[in-house]
């Protein structure tokens, strides 16, 4: 699945670009994500927790800066992870193009996403919306990072990125309806089966 998103950061490109290449700091701008360098080499190991309604999925895996073009200011990352519990997996090649725009920075993000398992089978209709919402959150985090007020996520958000809550701000009714439906379905399922 190919996704294209664009966002703006209220900071000059000269400051944004180096930050984007600093993988652990970048990860810090994304609630729910934790990264640390892999002692083995040039990649990072970490976890990402997503909360979709009452269902929390934790992916653990690696992130790697794949390619950097300093002149064109294009960076590509490769991220892959597996569900910590369950059988799903996700992999993405993320290409970010950075350009200056009147003292601000525009970032064009092209993502080639491959999701296997439950999240793909149930959430494909939402993926575009969720990716947009994630990046909006990410952009805010970057801005705070750049303006020297590091992002302090509320405790719950530090635990897991609540896609439902993020999506609610950004994507509107359709996604919300589907999320509500899924949540209701899962809750009902738990009620019916969950007498334990």
């Amino acid at each position: 699945m190919r996704l294209t998103n664009e966002f703006e950061v209220a900071a000059p490109v000269e400051r944004t670009w180096p930050l984007l290449l600093d993988v652990p700091r970048v990860a810090g701008s994304l609630p729910g994500a934790r990264l640390e360098p892999d002692p083995a080499g040039d990649s990072y190991r970490g976890t990402m927790k997503l909360k979709l309604g009452p269902v929390t999925t934790e992916y653990s895996g690696t992130a790697r800066l794949q390619d950097v073009d300093e002149d064109e200011r294009v960076a590509s990352f490769y991220v892959q992870g597996r569900e910590a519990r369950g059988q799903g997996s996700a992999a993405a090649t993320i290409v970010s193009r950075v350009s200056a725009d009147d003292g601000h920075t525009r970032v064009l993000v092209e993502t080639d996403l491959e999701v296997a398992g439950r999240q793909a089978q149930l959430g494909s209709g939402l993926m575009q919306d969720v990716a947009g919402a994630l990046l909006a959150q990410f952009a805010k985090g970057l801005e705070r990072e750049l303006t020297g007020t590091p992002y302090e996520a509320p405790p719950a958000a530090r635990e897991a990125l609540d896609v439902g809550a993020v999506a609610a701000q950004a994507v509107g009714e359709r996604a919300l309806l589907v999320l509500a439906g899924m949540a209701a379905g899962v809750l009902l399922g738990r009620l019916l089966w969950g007498r334990r």
Partner: protein, 681 residues
């Protein structure tokens, strides 16, 4: 435990040593030597690969959702939790998603007759087209499930299952477990819908049976909706390149077709059946003297396909009727008129592909459909509208069914039928057949289905065959019972049998009447059995649709549908009409919204009702129905099949109406706004 990948090699499977409520984790290793893969049924003259569906994946998974391991626990939630702890090493492999691009054939068939080369050489016009129907999900209200229990002392396996009949589940278990029929009892209770998707044993059903025997305790499996979307076999997923040769006057001379079927990862027992049916029906209802049809059933990394309401017939109707409309446009002839010039009118009619149509009145169906639909066509800036007609021939019946009929001591009639219902209304139609044959009230007839230990043998409930085959067996058994009763009546009334007259009240002679009740009360336990076997019977019909399209948005609205069906003699017109309306709804869903989609990695992307939308009553247009009754000469009732008719005629008629509204530009279903907008711009 199902594969998250469409195609992968499986390495180690590590089960947790313990987890709350966990009883066992079974993989293909535990099944080794205990169970074989599912059987494969190949149609006449078809070649098939020896690639049956394993119960649990062995070394490789070929579709997302394929069963890899069975986790057994005290409750389903505990089993789900334990399943999350099972680790499977997958090494992803390149998936194949497009059937045409697949180099791996699972099934191949070629057939034809007549001098096809001469037909194309003599043709004034050859019309070519490529047409496709999407993969569909049967989406029964009740998902699949089974319970197995093994009695070691009696060596008896009892298997309860949501299925279309007991026979094919039993046959599947006999094959998979290599056990004799007497050691297995299959029970099919009331079923919440199947539409073809519960015909044969599911891999999971086989696992449940083995697990019950291994563990020595009852095992239950009931899938959730996601599993049903991922792993219940799907329907359609067929495309074809079709060529039709005609004279300048519009006489059809020959048809060529290459059918590509997206069969999925394995041959399930009936995967090869629908494409063969499509191929055999490629002459439709037309008197075409030559045909040459090839089927390439390709392997893809998707769940296998199998019969789904129509099972090959909607595909044939769609391919044939689309190319006929394209021909009419090229010839500048009214499509109804072109059809009329080519309809088969004499029966029996043997097509060049080798099936013999038993009876019909195709022109009457066509005329009636056109009359009922009230054709419209307009090409305004704000609204386009058009009318389409489509005809079909449906194979139904065939093979054999049986019935046991008994006069119970209380005077009631008990029928045990080999075909069992899952929504068709056997209880009503079979009771009607018996009540009419014996002159008793409907309430005096009781029916028993769905217990392999109690019902006689048969083929099962599929292919719109229950009334023609099972109903005929009931009719024959009832006739035998009546003769038995007559013998007893003659004795009781002390008259010779030939002096008896038979009426609704019972047997009469010399002013005295003896109802069946009295015969039963005389203490005579009377019973009769019959087995009925026949060649295929061929139902037919004509459908017509009027649609409108809003060019600005691509929005399609089906204004109305006319459905004219000839299913031979109808036993119960109300149930027949209900079948037609239900079929129309499913056929319309296929046109408007339904499509099982996969991404380029073979991941299913429409695995919930949020993404796979079924029609609701609100989207149903008015449907005008009518019946033509051309009795079949092949069975005592004169009956044919009606269960799939609506799903067969509707997609082709709506597609032709859409092409008509679009000024001849053809589109394949589903007719989404996106697709229609693309054509319009």
């Amino acid at each position: 435990m199902r594969s998250p990948h469409a195609h992968a090699r499986i390495g180690a499977v590590r089960a947790p040593r313990e987890a709350p409520g966990l009883v066992a984790v079974l993989t293909s290793d535990e099944l080794d030597g205990r169970a074989r893969p599912l059987p494969i049924q190949l149609p006449h003259r078809a070649e098939g690969a020896a690639e049956p569906h394993p119960l649990l994946a062995t070394g490789e998974v070929r579709y997302a959702g394929q069963p890899v391991a069975a986790v057994l626990a005290e409750t389903r939630p505990l089993a789900e939790d334990a399943a999350e702890l099972v680790e499977v090493e997958y090494e992803p492999l390149e998936p194949v998603v497009d059937a045409r691009a697949s180099e791996h054939e699972l099934m191949r068939w070629e057939g034809g007759g007549g001098d096809i080369d001469a037909a194309f050489a003599a043709a004034d016009l050859v019309v070519r087209g490529s047409y496709a129907l999407p993969r569909l999900v049967a989406a029964p209200m009740e998902t699949r499930g089974a319970i197995a229990s093994y009695d070691g002392e009696r060596d008896l396996l009892t298997f309860w299952c949501s299925a279309q009949d007991t026979h094919r589940q039993l046959a599947g278990l006999i094959h998979v477990l290599e056990r004799p029929a007497e050691s297995i009892r299959v029970l099919v209770p009331d079923v919440g819908g199947a539409f073809g998707s519960k015909g044969v044993l599911a891999p999971e059903g086989g696992v449940v049976a083995v697990a019950a025997m291994v563990l020595g305790r009852p095992v239950k499996w009931a899938e959730d909706r996601l599993e049903n979307f991922l792993a219940a076999y799907q329907g359609r997923g067929v495309e074809a390149d079709v060529e039709l040769a005609l004279t300048g006057e519009g006489r059809m001379l020959g048809i060529r077709a290459h059918i590509y079927a997206d069969l999925g990862g394995y041959l399930m027992p009936t995967t090869a059946i629908p494409p063969h049916t499509t191929a055999m029906l490629m002459c439709g209802c037309y008197d075409i003297s030559s045909a040459d049809v090839r089927v390439s059933g390709r392997r893809t990394n998707k769940v296998p396909t199998g019969p789904y309401r129509g099972a090959g017939r909607p595909e044939a109707a769609y391919f044939v009727e689309r190319v006929v409309d394209d021909a009419a446009r090229e010839l500048g002839v009214d499509p109804v008129e072109l059809r009329r010039r080519n309809l088969i009118s004499e029966f029996p009619h043997r097509t060049p592909l080798g099936w013999t149509y038993d009876s019909g009145d195709y022109e009457l169906c066509l005329d009636e459909a056109v009359r009922l639909v009230e054709p419209e066509r307009e090409a305004g800036d704000e609204l386009l509208s058009g009318t389409g007609v489509a005809m079909y021939v449906e194979r139904s019946g065939g093979l054999a069914e049986s019935a046991d009929v008994a006069l119970e001591p209380d005077g009631r009639i008990l029928i045990r039928s080999s075909t069992s219902p899952h929504g068709q209304g056997h209880d009503t139609t079979f009771a009607q057949i018996a009540a009419e044959g014996l002159g008793v009230e409907l309430d005096d007839v009781a029916l028993q289905f769905g217990d392999s230990a109690a019902v006689p043998s048969g083929a099962g409930t599929f292919a719109s065959r229950s009334v023609a085959m099972g109903g005929s067996a009931v009719a024959l058994a009832v006739e035998k019972l009546r003769n038995e009763c007559a013998r007893v009546a003659a004795r009781l009334l002390e008259v010779p049998e030939e002096d008896l007259s038979w009426g609704p009240a019972g047997f009469s002679a010399g002013g005295r009447t003896l109802p069946l009740r009295a015969i039963a009360a005389a203490g005579s336990a009377l019973k009769a059995s019959a087995r009925f076997e026949s060649d295929l019977v061929f139902a037919s019909g004509a459908y017509a649709a009027v649609v409108e399209i809003e060019p600005a948005t691509g929005r399609l609205r089906v204004r109305r549908i006319a459905a004219v069906d000839d299913a031979g003699t109808l036993v119960n017109p109300l149930l027949a009409e209900g079948q037609v309306i239900g079929g129309v709804a499913q056929g319309l869903g296929e046109c408007l919204t339904e499509e099982a989609t996969y991404d380029e990695h073979g991941q299913p992307t429409s695995a919930s009702f949020a993404d796979y939308s079924l029609l609701t009553a609100a989207e149903m247009p008015p449907v005008a129905t009518a019946f033509v009754e051309s009795p079949s000469p092949l069975n005592p009732l004169g009956a044919k099949g009606i269960g799939e008719a609506g799903a067969i005629g509707t997609p082709a008629a709506v597609a032709n109406a859409v092409a008509d509204a679009l000024g001849g530009r053809g589109v394949d279903p589903p007719f989404t706004e996106e697709k229609l907008r693309e054509v319009l711009t």
